[in-house]
Symmetry: C2
Subunit: 323 residues, 2 copies
């Protein structure tokens, strides 16, 4: 299913999903939902990782898969400015996955839980034909402090915490039949959620925030669409993961395909008022562009002054055309 | 994987799961976990339904599957004495499941959400080889009022709310090649969660509670093991679903195979002090037996005074031997 198909499907399903109202501070369509329980905000997200779709068992150990299944959900918490508290796991277990492999998966989930201070409190393991791991994470956030995708305003600066392009560059290397750079492969195997940075950006007055799962450009465009604004980003300011530029050169590919279009990065992209930039930088963010008035669009400004539409630079697009 | 295999696996995974302590009022190993947030209890459960394992697409519509995916989790809330509030869904979508079928699945989830007053607030839909639906439900319960599996005491009465044996009798009819009784098939397709009864049983002082997913006997044994007690139940008092006795006669099978061993019933089994029985009955419960001192064991007392060990009457056992 192409990304376009996914987004169309999401639109068709939205009538079945609750929008914000009453105690539901953030409804569907953001990184996570937020419920107000007498002033305590409960942040809630689910992500499913599927064998051969989100990981390959010859590239990732079962512990890597467990780590990633937790990390991608923790990253959703981070993107709301929330801190993860507990997780539950639903595991579809094929006959090929023996008890030792399931233990390794749980060990990886436990490592990620220790890393970000949450606890695994339950789960359901069921027989299935194919391996899939569904993790739900709860987080803690002050209800009025949760950062949505919809608050970006013209004049805000766009900042990024984390590195871009690593995971997709590693997969492109493998697809091209060359040895993958271990640093890049590690970005695919063990993504890092930016919980402290997310909380710091929320405290710095972030007006909108999202984590990079579909790709920097695609996710920035989600913010633009939710906020009703446009964005312009400088290519040379985007923080590429170490090894991405070398990989792109060797593959004879524009590095922006990975950096701006790659996805699976779990960096945070936030918008802040200009006077919030120093606090964002203190949280590890780099400034990469600005929010402007206009129809929702995300534009990449190249060093020579030319521009490119970031909407066309998604990883799926790249995958269809091949390197 | 046999039930025994599942239970062994669960035991091997328990070191990775958090036990109760501090703000975690109920940890892993119960129907749901409960977290104390400044006096508000958040109850949390996940269940996964897999195509060809938990449902068949020629027997259940996609709306039925959606209903059931929510209902089985709501039933976990009911078994804690909690009320469901919100749900998120992780959907593994095979190419054979078109957008209209996904909408039907969501329509069924929405129907169940309306039935029990919760809201679907988000989800993740991913491409996959096989259809699986992972639903996580949150519930609301006073932290000190959550009913665990571990509080049953000798002298307590055992009560049941709901009907037993319907789903397994329908599947046995189909397996035997006879037309399934529609009433029984409906129990398989559209299980009913007992939220009001669960809350009423909690208020009536239930000392332990569980919902019947593995089978009445197997689930009662879970309570006995968690509580360190034994249980004796009268076969003739167990509330069989309408049509189960006729189905058993026609198949020449002991009806207790379905009623006590069937599973997938989502009735509630609770233990209450003798003086709590009237309140339990007012909540729709029937008294079926009593808790006694002894090593964990669940015994079925037959009308002729003979007894049978309920541990041997699970649906899986039946399935292996055939009718």
């Amino acid at each position: 299913m192409s990304n376009l198909g996914e987004f169309e499907l999401i639109a068709r399903l939205s009538p079945f999903l609750a929008s914000a109202g009453d105690d539901l501070v953030v409804g569907h369509g953001d990184d996570a939902a937020v419920i107000d329980l007498d002033g305590r905000g409960v942040c809630l997200a689910v992500d499913v990782l599927v064998d051969e779709v989100h990981f390959r068992r010859d590239l990732s150990s079962m512990a890597d898969v467990g780590w990633k299944a937790v990390a991608v959900n923790v990253s959703d918490m981070a993107a709301m400015g929330a801190r993860p508290t507990v997780a539950v796991v639903g595991l579809c277990r094929p006959p090929s996955l023996d008890a030792a492999a399931v233990e390794q998966l749980y060990e990886g989930m436990s490592e990620a839980c220790r890393e970000w201070g949450l606890r695994l409190v339950g789960g359901d393991t069921v027989a299935a034909q194919a391996l899939a791991v569904s993790v739900t994470v709860l987080g803690d956030v002050q209800p009025d402090a949760a950062v949505r995708r919809s608050g970006a305003r013209p004049g805000d600066r766009i900042v990024v915490v984390g590195e871009l392009g690593g995971a997709s560059a590693a997969l492109a290397q493998l697809r091209a039949g060359v040895d993958a750079d271990e640093r890049l492969l590690q970005a695919h195997r063990r993504p890092v959620a930016r919980v402290d940075a997310g909380a710091a950006l929320a405290a710095a007055g972030a007006t909108a925030m999202i984590d990079v799962s579909d790709g920097f450009g695609a996710d920035l465009l989600h913010v633009c669409e939710a906020s009703g604004v446009a964005a312009v980003v400088d290519a040379e300011r985007l923080p590429a993961a170490a090894g991405v530029h070398e990989a792109a050169r060797a593959l004879d590919v524009d590095p922006m395909v990975f950096v701006a279009g790659g996805g699976d990065d779990y960096a945070l992209v936030a918008t802040v008022a200009a006077d919030g930039v120093p606090a964002a930088e203190a949280a590890g963010a780099v400034e990469v562009g600005e929010v402007i008035q206009g129809s929702p669009a995300a534009t990449l400004r190249l060093p020579d002054g030319s521009t490119r539409d970031l909407a066309g630079m998604g990883w799926d697009h790249y995958r269809q055309e091949g390197p």
